[in-house]
């Protein structure tokens, strides 16, 4: 289990901030739209101070925005802040996709050899 007290590094960047499973859960809920903190407390089944602590970390890295609406504060996802994380994995995925496209070519060659040669061990 990851301790409820954030490590110093968690607010340094969004990558660390979203490494914590509870914070990813908050982002998942907020992906459905803007929510007051009470909704998040209910959805996560955590005490409000813990949820607030996670929200502070997410706000510090810009992953969520907050605005006051009368007496409640509404939280929403900031997709722009999360884009680098998405891009980061996407670049790696692109490398593997291109690698596998080359492997497709190799496999087509092997299939032809096997089909034409026959009985090859």
């Amino acid at each position: 289990m990851i301790a409820a007290v954030p490590r110093a590094a968690t607010t340094a960047d969004a990558f660390n901030a979203v490494a914590e499973p509870r914070r990813r859960q908050i982002l998942d809920v907020l992906a459905g739209g803007e929510r007051p903190v009470n909704d998040l407390v209910r959805a996560l089944g955590l005490a409000q101070p813990q949820v607030s602590k996670h929200l502070r970390v997410l706000r510090a890295v810009g992953a969520v925005d907050v605005r006051g609406d009368g007496r409640q504060r509404l939280y929403r996802l900031n997709g722009r802040a999360l884009k680098p994380i998405h891009d980061w994995v996407k670049d790696y995925e692109r490398t593997w996709s291109e690698r596998f496209e080359q492997l497709d070519v190799v496999l087509e060659g092997l299939k032809k050899t096997e089909g034409g040669g026959g009985g090859d061990e």
Partner: protein
């Protein structure tokens, strides 16, 4: 799910990378392409350079080493040791990116065949999130640092 052309990369835990891809070929051929040096040289470069070394000593305790000279002229090298070999089914090996020798990962590749098609699953298990993140970053054109710099700007603008 419909597209078998692109690899799917997910990060199941903080220390893992999971790569999956389906191939239109029976698994013994995929396994052959995966474990034969001359064949590996033809696909592993991912169009990012030329593979100058592909050594595969395919036995438990045997070593492998891949070297690629990237188009920018710099060399990237990886090596490891085979831990488990089930022909046509499963390969377990260590993997070290030689520029980061402390970050040794354990790779598990499985080949699952269905209707002459093969699903390849590659699980990369690191020992820390830092190593896992550095691994994902390796070979990237814009480093993670660029992404972090961008994030910081966004975060600062919100203060």
């Amino acid at each position: 799910m419909t597209s078998s052309r692109s690899a799917t990369v997910t990060l199941p835990t903080d220390e893992q990378i999971l790569i999956t891809r389906e191939f239109d070929a029976p698994r013994h051929l995929v396994y052959e392409a995966w474990t034969t040096p001359e064949l590996v040289k033809r696909w592993w470069h991912a169009n990012r350079g030329e593979m100058t070394v592909a050594e595969i000593d395919l036995r438990v305790g045997g070593r492998w080493r891949y070297v690629m000279v990237a188009d920018g002229g710099f060399e990237v090298a990886f090596h490891g040791e085979y831990r488990e070999i089930v022909p046509n089914e499963r390969l377990v090996s260590t993997e070290v990116y030689e520029a980061m020798p402390d970050a040794q990962a354990l790779d598990t590749v499985t080949f699952a065949e269905e209707n002459d098609r093969t699903l390849v699953t590659l699980l990369v298990q690191h020992t820390s999130k830092e190593h896992r993140d550095a691994h994902v970053e390796s070979g990237m054109e814009d480093g993670l640092q660029d992404a972090l710099d961008l994030l910081e700007q966004v975060a600062v603008s919100l203060r």
